[in-house]
């Protein structure tokens, strides 16, 4: 079983990211369970999303306390909260950032990767620089880095699950996949 936690902000589509990821993974016959933080989401406020992945049915409905990996949709959160809380040793931290992994100064026990999802999003006209919609790009990067699914599955999931600008979103996911 793989458990992943997403960090983002209300309004950034973090939950949608986890949902698209779940979709993509399920297309390849795996079992998934994705859920948002159980709370009151506000535009701008820090939010979470979670995903469990397994090759057999997932019965555990309790919350995820010790994720295998962490995805950071909004890099400003790194200052604001402890995004490594409970993260298993050796886990990946994947950050949407223009910086290099080393620059982020996480403890050595984690594997850090960055992807400039904002740039990709803006390039594909997904939101503005101040409010980019990065979720599809993030998913593209994540499946590659964590080897969770093929890019084709992601593209399919995006086409089906993203009502606005599905093509641009798919392109962003693809670009992120390739860049990771």
């Amino acid at each position: 079983m793989i458990e992943i936690r997403f960090h983002g902000r209300g309004g950034q589509g973090t939950v949608v990211a986890s949902k698209i990821l779940a979709d993509a993974i399920s297309k390849e016959g795996n079992y998934v369970q994705a859920y948002p933080e159980f709370g009151v989401e506000r535009r701008g406020a820090p939010v979470f999303a979670f995903i469990r992945i397994d090759n057999k049915p997932i019965y555990d409905k309790s919350r995820i306390y010790n994720p295998d990996h962490v995805i950071v949709v909004d890099p400003t959160l790194i200052e604001a909260i402890d995004i490594t809380e409970g993260l298993k040793e050796g886990g990946h931290i994947i950050v949407n950032s223009e910086k290099k992994p080393e620059e982020l100064k996480f403890p050595k026990k984690f594997k850090v990767a960055t992807i400039n999802a904002t740039e990709i999003a803006v390039k594909h006209k997904l939101g503005t620089l101040a409010a980019p919609i990065v979720n599809t790009a993030i998913v593209g990067a994540v499946v590659k880095i964590l080897k969770l699914a093929k890019i084709e599955s992601v593209l399919e999931a995006v086409q089906e699950g993203v009502p606005v600008k599905p093509k641009d979103n798919a392109a962003a996911a693809k670009e992120a996949y390739e860049k990771s």
Partner: protein, 384 residues
């Protein structure tokens, strides 16, 4: 078709595939996605239904009752405050023999405001004459809605399909969405023999004197008592057509169990994980997840626990001034049947406090250590 959907959308799909004809509902967290999707389905005609967008849950149920009396298949969904606001009309639905099907998302009761899961909202409706199903996966939610229409319309008793806030309502899982034609074959249209129509004018629900009331309610209970067999039967039929059995309970390794965890909802799903792990540790644990809580599956529960050494009932609810409600009812069911079996009553997870596999291990260890319960209620997870 397999789809990754949230529990709330599983409810909507169930209502859609069940061809609900009149829907009336009011938004409340964590139920809103149910009505939002149904609104869209009605707007784009995926579903040919009238959606009455009322000003409160109370009116939602009232509209469903009227529509049901007119012979239409009706659906609504709500949660906690909304469900309890309907309470008077829940009595109405059963007494009027109106087979409304309702989704309820378990959410703790205010005050303080909570949007998180516990079962006090739906369980405090246990005396209103509704059939109650507790689900543990989105697949089960969808399947159960379809089955509920069938059971309810056969018995003319309303049904509630219950799922946990967030850990089901907002959780995305892979769900096999059956084809419409197959569902149609399983579930025929609702065609009540008697309904409100000027062609055969009856007055429904008039003043009923002591001369008559008792018999009406006797019949309601007698029909309620037919539900367990019918649920088994329709569950098997469902299995034949869709490959998924829907029964009164879900049993995991109870046959040879030294201790059986009696659970419900998603908690019951997590308990199964614990039981698996406990077995790996050499403890013969079983899990009996009660799905149909109303009517209470007396026979089934009695049979399953027969060989057990101990029972631990885990309630995510409480009847203040008594015990956890599953605990209370299990004891009531076993009294005079299996008296020497120690039954422990645990309360956990009120107001959304998480219940994990290790919670169950704690519970199991406790119960295995004691000969018999020493406390009326054993609280798990309270900060002390």
């Amino acid at each position: 078709m397999k789809k990754v959907i949230m529990g709330n959308h599983a409810l909507s799909y169930g209502a859609m595939l069940g061809r609900a004809q009149v829907i009336s509902a009011y938004p409340i967290t964590p139920q809103t996605q149910v009505v939002e999707l149904l609104s869209e389905m009605c707007a784009d005609k995926t579903l040919d239904a009238k959606f009455i967008k009322v000003e409160s849950e109370h009116s939602a149920m009232a509209a469903c009752l009227g529509a049901s009396l007119a012979g239409a298949r009706t659906f609504t969904a709500t949660s906690s405050q909304g469900l309890t606001l309907m309470h008077e009309l829940l009595h109405w639905a059963s007494g009027g023999r109106l087979p409304v099907v309702m989704g309820n998302i378990n959410r703790a009761m205010a005050p303080g405001w909570s949007i998180w899961s516990d079962q006090n909202d739906s369980l405090s409706q246990r005396d209103t004459g509704w059939i109650q199903f507790y689900c543990c996966s989105n697949q089960e939610v969808l399947d159960t809605v379809i089955q509920a229409f069938k059971v309810s319309e056969k018995l003319l008793i309303p049904s509630m399909v219950v799922l946990d806030a967030f850990s089901l309502s907002h959780t995305y899982e892979v769900v096999d969405v059956p084809e419409q034609e197959k569902v149609d074959a399983y579930l025929p249209p609702f065609k009540p023999q008697i309904k409100i129509t000027p062609d055969e004018p009856h007055a429904f629900g008039g003043l009923t004197s002591p001369e008559h009331y008792f018999e009406l309610r006797y019949k309601l209970q007698k029909d309620m008592e037919k539900a367990p067999a019918l649920i088994e039967e329709t569950g098997k039929e469902y299995e034949k057509m869709f490959g998924r059995y829907l029964g009164l309970v879900d049993e995991y390794c109870c046959d040879d169990a030294d201790i059986i965890l009696i659970t419900s909802g998603t908690v019951g799903s997590t308990a199964r994980v614990a039981a698996e792990e406990l077995r790996q540790e050499g403890i013969r644990a079983g899990n009996l997840r009660i799905k149909a809580f109303r009517p209470f599956p007396f026979e089934t529960v009695r049979n399953i626990v027969k060989g057990a050494e101990k029972i631990a009932v885990v309630d995510r609810n409480i009847s203040y001034g008594h015990h956890g409600m599953f605990y209370e009812e299990v004891k009531s069911a076993l009294y005079g049947h299996n008296d020497s079996l120690p039954v422990f009553g645990f309360i956990a997870g009120l107001g959304g406090r998480d219940i994990t596999p290790s919670t169950f291990k704690e519970i199991t260890n406790y119960a295995l250590k004691k000969k018999k319960p020493e406390e009326e209620i054993i609280w798990i997870g309270v900060k002390r």
